[in-house]
Symmetry: C2
Subunit: 455 residues, 2 copies
Amino acid sequence: MKAKLSMKEVFDYIDSNKNRAIELLSKLVSQPSVAATGQGIKECSELVMKLLDELGANPKLNDIGEGSPVVSGEIKSKRNPEKTILFYNHYDVQPPEPLELWDSPPFTPAIRDGKMYGRGVSDDKGELTGRVKLTEAFLKTWKDVPCNFKFLFEGEEEIGSIHLSQYLKKYPEIFKADGVVWEFGGVDPNGRPQVVLGVKGILYVQLTTNVAKKDVHSSLGAIVQNPAWRLVGALNTLKSGEKILIPGWYDDVRKFTKQELELIRQAPYDAKAIKADLGIRNFIAKMSIEEAKRALVGKPTCTICGIYSGYTGPGSKTVLPSEAFAKVDFRLVPDQDPDDLVRKLRKYLVTQGYSDVKITYSEGERAKRTSPKEPIAIAAKFAAEQVYKTASIVQVSSAGTGPMYLFNAPCVAIGGGHAFSNAHAPNENKQLEYLVKGMKWVASTVNRFAEMRIS
Amino acid sequence: MKAKLSMKEVFDYIDSNKNRAIELLSKLVSQPSVAATGQGIKECSELVMKLLDELGANPKLNDIGEGSPVVSGEIKSKRNPEKTILFYNHYDVQPPEPLELWDSPPFTPAIRDGKMYGRGVSDDKGELTGRVKLTEAFLKTWKDVPCNFKFLFEGEEEIGSIHLSQYLKKYPEIFKADGVVWEFGGVDPNGRPQVVLGVKGILYVQLTTNVAKKDVHSSLGAIVQNPAWRLVGALNTLKSGEKILIPGWYDDVRKFTKQELELIRQAPYDAKAIKADLGIRNFIAKMSIEEAKRALVGKPTCTICGIYSGYTGPGSKTVLPSEAFAKVDFRLVPDQDPDDLVRKLRKYLVTQGYSDVKITYSEGERAKRTSPKEPIAIAAKFAAEQVYKTASIVQVSSAGTGPMYLFNAPCVAIGGGHAFSNAHAPNENKQLEYLVKGMKWVASTVNRFAEMRIS
């Protein structure tokens, strides 16, 4: 291993080249790349290829023949060629609609009051820009990177990373690393850096019931089975209060460690502001703030995301529907397996007398958590406090879901994100101050991680 | 009372003036009168006024200042001025959409294979034409009518007769009669005349649940109450199997008389054809044909006509909805009272812990049945067999609902209807043969009724 180099030169480079990073972000946002419609996906993948090529990262366009290609690249470290960090990001964005709610056009980046506005500026082109530009900072100053850098930029994150597991099968080498820096991360509403160590999993199903071959007059309710009643009955067997009644559902739930419980306890949570924002008086089942914090991190849930049958317009229409369906989202925790759980769900509905309920399995992802004792978690926490000069917050897991489980290595979600960035909403924005801070945080984390693993 | 006159002259007049009746029907159908949109309502009410004026029925345009006006008229009988029969019909029609499924334009009547096609040709302009033209037949031949004739032609039947009870309050005299001939009636698929003696009632409500003030990400399902789950839970308390669990729901249900049970037993019911048409193998709860027949006539029901919450498009969307609602149709039997029952429903949901479920009471009509022993029922059965030369069928009640309860007098639903007339559907049609037969049936019934009551 070569002599230790200072992060100061890297930070200085980041500071003095801030405007070049902003220019790159603007260029990326100007290129639409909507996975839901396919708009600009090809062009954006080529643009991202070019960026990696300019870095000297030997980019590859990985393609399984459907969906958006995955762009990957790698820069070997001279000083530390045994260790590899992987940057997972995505170049696709959410659809920009509703357009009329944007103050400036979504694909024409505009800077106002220290923020850039545009679709994808925060999620995830800001992070992608940061990863490219911090790499450039290492290369320009150190003429090296702290360990091997891998880049995996996918183009379907906003539609559930629907092909990513197939990419893992076909191109396993682009997923291999000793640590992963996740696509999102940043500071909380009070500017405190948050080290997020996991995501929940998901099992998303549609339950469908059919009876008659056409909608009929509701006077026939006296003699014809109603699929909406069947669906309501079937749904009602799934939960009692907040407990999921399907046998074996909780078998594989990993218990919180003492350290996790302590981290959850330590994490600030502004319940009052959150309740006001949602317009609710109480959390479900009148849970306490501490119960709510633990539930967000570690409670398996069962949520009706949508339900539909028959006539739903104004006033009354006397119809007996022929079909009903519900979309149900089960959030999972380690070590629950969606494939196993969907089998348990099927079996349970049959034993409850609902073999007529059709189950469509539309999404399944496992949860993932990285131990706070992992070197990369420790490095991220250390670097956060170095860059932000304030205590950091360790989040055991996000309440949300992502394809983190596809990566075998420990994983931290850190970056240049901030509250009120309107990700997925009109007027998505990026505080340019945090673009810079996020780059420094990630650079410092990676450097620390490289050092720690070597020791 | 004057000397008895023969129906033969009346029937002969009807036969020889058949083409004039068809011309009138064509004229009425050419005038759109869609209550749902208001299209042509005013013009059609004026046309109907003119018809009654030409009959010498001293028409009145009754108007409460909202909705469609009610046209009424009366012809006094010289021979029998103490008795009054009322013809209840409607001049409004269902919307003609979907237009592309019509073989000829809905408001341009076309005759093919003995049928006239057009919106309203069967429901209810064919019946309305019949009532006007049979009156003319009496007047032209007898120079009198068998008893006083009253006409009540409303313009909102197709939107639930939403103002008819207000008309009853403001113009009670136009509802008064000794017997009522209802707006529909006719023959079954085998050409057998059906005397229908009642309708079910209805209580139609919307149940709505709200929690957060906006839809949120479904990862918050761990801590935020889900209105769809609240709705599913509330609905599930309403029924066990086909039994409605709301206390007191069945308190006012009038038991079938022995005669009613016998009439239900005698009524033919082609269960096989009906199951094939609906694409079902069994009736609900595997009820027998006889159970199904009794249920259609006399079972209180609770039907989900529609249910909605959250995301119902293709694929999956991870949303926790802020609102859910269901539209629920309770069919009622004599002597259930919808106003009483909606109070019981409210109270029940509160006792079940669902005081958060908002109930919107959108429709309430009582059931009504006329005893088969009533002179008008006996007259209708006698006349049917005289005109059709075949046994008639007495239906204790239709499974459907109408504002029959607003009329105090005994009521029969008879007329010139036939199976496969596509009422409410594209290519609505009227078999012109039954236009004539229906006129004779009604004329003969009214004459018999007038005689019977006098004896």
